[in-house]
Amino acid sequence: MLGQVLKYDLKAVCRYLIPLYAVLLGLGVMVRLLGFFDNISIIAIICGLMVVALVLVSVFSFVLTGIFSVKHYLENLFKDEGYLTHTLPVKKETLLVSKVLVSLITLILTALVLFISLLIAFYQEGLFSEVIKVLGLSIYGMKVYEFLLFMIFYSIIGYLTTILMVYAAISVGYSKSSNKLVSSVVCALIFYFAMEIIYFGVLSVIVLIDPAFISDLDNEVFMMKDLISFFTIFMVFTACIGGVYYYISYRYMNKKLNLE
């Protein structure tokens, strides 16, 4: 059943994302085309504006992708559509796993479309060989591509945990009898501050165990592997917190569902 649920969830979210992708790709094409005539001052100005627009849409594309995932979660499970979704012969965990997978898939899709759009706009001959050369470089004892892969993985974990935090807040807020949306917002704030306190606690423990750790990151003996181990600790905690949010969402959907 997961395949079926995933198919319909993806279709629903992609309905919002397709216009965003069209704008991203359209801006990429416009920047490229206008670039051929940038010796004409008015076109150079328009081209500059297009570049600014592309950068802005690029920055907000991930935020919008997250918003669309959350919007679908809310509407599909807790608004009128929920009357159909929750009466399907499907396990609650299947519904939830599908929503999390859709967040991940759409994040990857957005990154892919963004990459293509930027490539269309700014590609120059020899770009790939230059990029490959840079990726193979070693900085502070670590290859650039290894560091990049690590940071991409860390960003995905962070993104999914944030989405799960909002899912959990909605699940708790919408189990209340009244002021459901306000309750969800309050829950999200509580979860956010709790998460910050946990991070601060983790940082304090690290400093207590190894007082020189933080200062080492900022001096000449700094090595990339120290930074990676620093981020790995936070990544593990972020993933664990994501797991807790998943459990809260599941628990409230399974035991405290309240479609009044």
Binding site: G82, Y83, P89
Partner: protein
Amino acid sequence: MLLECRNVCKNYGKREVLKDVNISLPSGKIVGLLGKNGSGKTTLIKAINGLLSLDKGEILVDGHKIGVDSKKVISYLPERTYLNMHKTVKDIIEYFSDFYEDFDKDKAYKLLSNLKIQAADKLSIMSKGMKEKVQLVLVMSRKAKLYILDEPMGGVDPATRDYILDTILSNFDEGSTILMSTHLISDIERVLDEVIFIDDGKIIKSESADKMRKESGKSIDEVFREEFRC
């Protein structure tokens, strides 16, 4: 028993909405769940469909607790439109077909063509009444053991009421049970086998429709008016 509610209690905040509700329904019956506005009909129906968690008690459908197995045998028509308005009729039929093994696609298309609704029609451009009919067709195109219809004739004109009642009666299996909540008792009273009166979250009467008529010498509509007189 096809449906059993045992000591079911539900509160909305401090307000008790269902108070120790006990119901047992066998297969092959048409049952009217009758009560005033706010008496707990919709809450009870939602609880049976797993849309509300219970504070106390247990509900069994065909021997299963509320979950995947119970949902396989219930075909539910809520009192609101739950269809995604961006979809076409074809999309929503495919959706039902993908999730419900007992959904009869051909029957759905046939019933929709009687209403002059095409597969490519978008739900967003349909009137409220038309959407309700599409929803009814979807629900009645399943070969379910238990049909739960919440106010299927609420807010529609008498001609549409007749269409709805005809669609319900001509599309359910003899062995299935229909649990239907409504205020429009006179419209459905002739088809009811069993009657349940609910008031202030409590079941105050649950008996055969014939017995009720015979013992009171009145129609169910009249008994209802007498029982719930303000």
